[in-house]
Amino acid sequence: MTRSVANAAGKRETPRWRRRLFRSPLAIAGFTLVGIFVLVAAFAPFISPYSPVEQNLRGTYVPPMRIELRGPEGQPGLWVREVSRTPLGALEVGQELYPIRFFVRGEPWVWWGGLLRSDLHLFGVDGPIKFYLLGSDEQGRDILSRLAHGAWISLSIGLIAVSIGLFIGVPLGLLSGYFGGTLDLVTQRIVEVMLSFPGILLAIVLVATLGTGLTNVMIAVGIAAIPVYARLVRGSVLALREREFVEASRALGNRNRRILLWHILPNSLSPIIVQSSLQMAVAILFAAGLGFLGLGARPPEPEWGLMLARGREYLATAPHVATFPGLAIMFVTLGFNLLGDALRDALDPRTAQ
């Protein structure tokens, strides 16, 4: 169905769904947002100029720094001045200009459990000062560096939570839809109970039981996704079960397991794929919500929701601390929502025009 077909000239044609996927500008926007997010998450220490937890008590609540386009002698380039706090807490802007350089050597970092080690950073300032592109927080930590590492946290939460939902919810839906009977009855009751805790409340209930912390957030948000998948898959199985090709397969003497895995599952993949993109958005939003409420990640973890919550206390004096994590959450959620919509339009033949 989704395989490329050879045409008369023997050339491979792009499958229709793939052509449709990139037709709408919103789909492209979705892909771009999700792509940037994944890249930032994957190469967080390279993109961030500093460590996400390193403090600088002389540089707390520094607003996003102004970049000058002319150097001290009028030469073009990107230049910054030092911004620091006086002992009395006032902001002080230095006189001297320092250049910003790309692909610079800086603090060494280890990534992917030691697979990647380097001291190369995307950019950094050439001089004895700190460069806060997006400002610094209450402990003088670089917000950009924290956001980049936070992207990694959000991506991991999203992937693990969606995997939990997939690996438990999809088989449950398949089995209960296909076999029906007592199994279906019991599963549906459990799903109903889980869905009667609206949205994030189920995750809150689970976190209240399991305790806070990132691992428990992943588990809680993942469990909260199970009923969504179970119900979705059950619905498509119920429709597919009665179709002729299933009957034909049974008539050929195929066993239930083969029918389920070879005929029913592949045909219910489209809604699962669409849901997974939307579910990534939900998982990231839930995790950030839990972090914001103080029920998720614990300090000094650079988790976006937690960063937002810390920024709330100084909203009036340092609004940038809460603004950027919020924007990050919004764009990533928007990206996965757009991607989900685009996938739905591309994979569902009924919306084809």
Binding site: S196, P198, I200, L201, A208, T209, F292, G305, G326, M330
Partner: protein, 306 residues
């Protein structure tokens, strides 16, 4: 119809029991001694013994569950660890505020969402349509807690139009209601748009236009009334969803509702209140969905209950 209502009511019972079981298990599965969790960290041995006895914690699980269910049915949800007041009393203090907030948010959602959907549907493909749908997409993706903070920053801190937090006057309600209602408004706008587009392509709309009726009459009298049926369903279902958003919105605005009570109680490990709040939200959610389901039949006479 009567049999349908009876069947729907009966179907709710196992769900309610499941919710009760979940809330019961919360304390039993949480790490630590359930008696300690229910009595609080600094409970005296006497209180602990009293809790053990009252909840039958030294008895088998099914007896405990029975005791718990019997207490809940009698309205006895235990005692708050923090305030030493009955949980039911605490819930009564906080719940009306949540109700006020959700109603306000729903009003905001209806006032923004439905007009936006109509405008988008009657001018498909124009800049109005694009703007409304883009706004709706952003509205759905925007985290409630961040939207609330930005609203506080702009309208309370910088412009000084609204109070930063708290409750009391109608002014206090404006920002929280807008914050909570925005994502629902976005969902309603998308729903209204697609329902209107579908209705507008029907034959009877063409007939109405052909016989010379004014565009306004066609849209409001012929199209909107039919398009509203699915919108009403979604509105009802969103009501439950608002309860979820209220948990976070209340924390942002220090709005003394059930959500703030819940979060505060989790952080303070005040398990009796956590149980009570979770139970209340879930039961309210189930009942709202039930009512919406039943109302649906009253609105759309085409629906038959066999």
């Amino acid at each position: 119809m009567t049999t349908y209502i009876a069947r729907r009511l009966l179907a709710v019972i196992p769900t309610l029991l499941g919710v009760l079981l979940t809330v019961f298990l919360m304390v039993r599965l949480a790490p630590g001694d359930p008696a300690q969790l229910l009595a609080g960290e600094f409970a005296t041995p006497e209180t602990l013994a009293d809790i053990r006895q009252r909840f039958g914690l030294d008895q088998p699980w099914h007896v405990q569950l029975g005791l718990y269910a019997a207490n809940v049915v009698r309205g006895d949800l235990g005692q708050s660890v923090r305030t030493r007041k009955p949980v039911a009393y605490e819930l009564r203090q906080y719940f009306p505020n949540t109700l006020r907030l959700t109603l306000g948010a729903m009003l905001v959602a209806l006032l923004i969402g439905i007009p936006a959907g109509i405008i988008a549907a009657t001018r498909p493909g124009t800049i109005f349509d694009l703007l409304a749908m883009l706004g709706a997409l952003i509205g759905v993706s925007m985290p409630v807690f961040w939207f609330g903070l930005m609203a506080i920053l702009i309208f309370s801190v910088q412009l000084g139009w609204f109070p930063v937090a708290g409750t009391g006057t109608l002014w206090h309600l404006v920002l929280p209601a807008i914050t909570l209602g925005t994502s629902t408004a976005a969902i309603l706008a998308r729903m209204t748009r697609s329902a209107m587009l579908e209705v507008l392509s029907q034959d009877y709309i063409r007939t109405a236009r052909a016989k010379g009726l004014a565009g306004r009459v066609v849209i409001f009298k012929h199209a909107l009334r039919n398009a509203l049926i699915p919108v009403v369903t979604i509105t009802g279902l969103q009501f439950g969803g608002l309860l979820e958003g209220a948990v976070i919105t209340e924390t942002v605005f220090a709005w003394p509702g059930i959500g703030q009570l819940l979060v505060g109680s989790i952080l303070a490990r005040d398990y009796p209140v956590v149980q009570g709040a979770v139970l209340l939200i879930a039961v309210a959610f189930i009942l709202i969905n039930l009512i919406v389901d039943l109302l649906y039949g009253a609105i759309d006479p085409r629906i038959r209950y066999d």
